[in-house]
Symmetry: C2
């Protein structure tokens, strides 16, 4: 690896760790430079801005983690299997990657107050094949006719939102971190059941 790459990598890793530890907003570019053992000017030389650095990290994380999800949606599993696998993989991904949840929250928040920039989310929305499957099955009478957008939004909501209100859930249900993870894991069975129930698949 070239010197250039090595330095870029150092900055990248320092930033990722700090973002994870302290959150994006509470991490300053000076912190990052210090942790990477370089100076501020150099950080600016490689990544023009903190925003850009963040986006780079986010995109990479998304890319790494989305492979499995895309594969599932594009596979030739049955609809039922697809839903079950997608939900499980997605939940596991968020459970194992707190940084990802934190980043998603950052993006969602920004998208409200600022500009779109939701490119990173493409991965969870490459649904052409999945959508086609829904309409095919519908035509064959195997499932109810359904609006694919609604269905996908339902699925994403049920999977993702509980992570966003983690603290609220822990507070109100009076559970700790460990119990929260158990709660989330229970949803791996619950969510597919709910969704498939809605599709009213007669048999699989």
């Amino acid at each position: 690896m070239s010197e250039r790459k090595k330095t870029e990598q150092k900055i990248f890793e320092a930033a990722t760790e700090l973002f994870l530890e302290k959150g994006v907003d509470r991490t300053s570019v000076r912190d990052i430079a210090a942790k990477a053992n370089i100076n501020l000017a150099l950080l600016n030389y490689y990544f023009r801005s903190k925003e850009n650095l963040f986006n780079t990290i986010f995109a990479k994380l998304m890319q790494e983690n989305s492979k499995k999800l895309i594969e599932i949606l594009d596979s030739d599993m049955s609809l039922k299997e697809k839903i079950e696998n997608y939900v499980v993989e997605y939940i596991d991904m968020l459970l194992e990657n707190p940084l990802l949840v934190s980043f998603v929250m950052s993006i969602l928040h920004r998208s409200w107050d600022e500009k779109p920039k939701m490119d990173g989310f493409n991965y969870l929305y490459s649904t052409e094949k999945f959508t086609k499957q829904l309409s095919d099955e519908s035509r064959k009478g195997n499932i109810k006719k359904i609006n694919p957008t609604h269905f996908f939004v339902d699925m994403l909501s049920l999977i993702t939102f509980p992570f966003a209100i983690k603290l609220l859930i822990m507070d109100k249900a009076e559970i700790n971190e460990r119990e929260f993870r158990t709660f989330i894991r229970e949803r791996k069975k619950r969510i597919p059941r709910l969704l498939i129930n809605e599709l009213k698949i007669k048999s699989d």
Copy 2:
């Protein structure tokens, strides 16, 4: 109204308007002071910090908007009616109050990177009566046995999350603002059906 109250009120209103227009993060305390025709120091005299000002506004908004929702949950409607009414009222509330959505996003985001402070959410979680009703109906065999926390999280997720990913939905489904509102309105029927379906209420 005293002079003190009048100034406080001016600041409060200016802040609310600006937060709505530009979003919380893109509104500076100097903007607020300017709009309220006072100076920066005075803003800090009344509200010790921007954070505190935000929390005050948020709490008031929540309090105002939560009445209907609490009434529904604490009423003596049937479970089915309760769910239907709750979903409709909640969605209408978010549709009519973009500031609220923006604020909720701010809070959720902060709760990840920073500290809890989710007091404002108490309103949507005063579920004692609702929970009791769920277990009563369950005991009587009218509905399936169910974990009330999961059920409530499902409901909140399905209602709230689509607002959080509004831009993503508009982008991917290729719809405009008006069509997004229609999409959301469709969910007023969809979500209760999904939830009630899960409860498997035999009759109402």
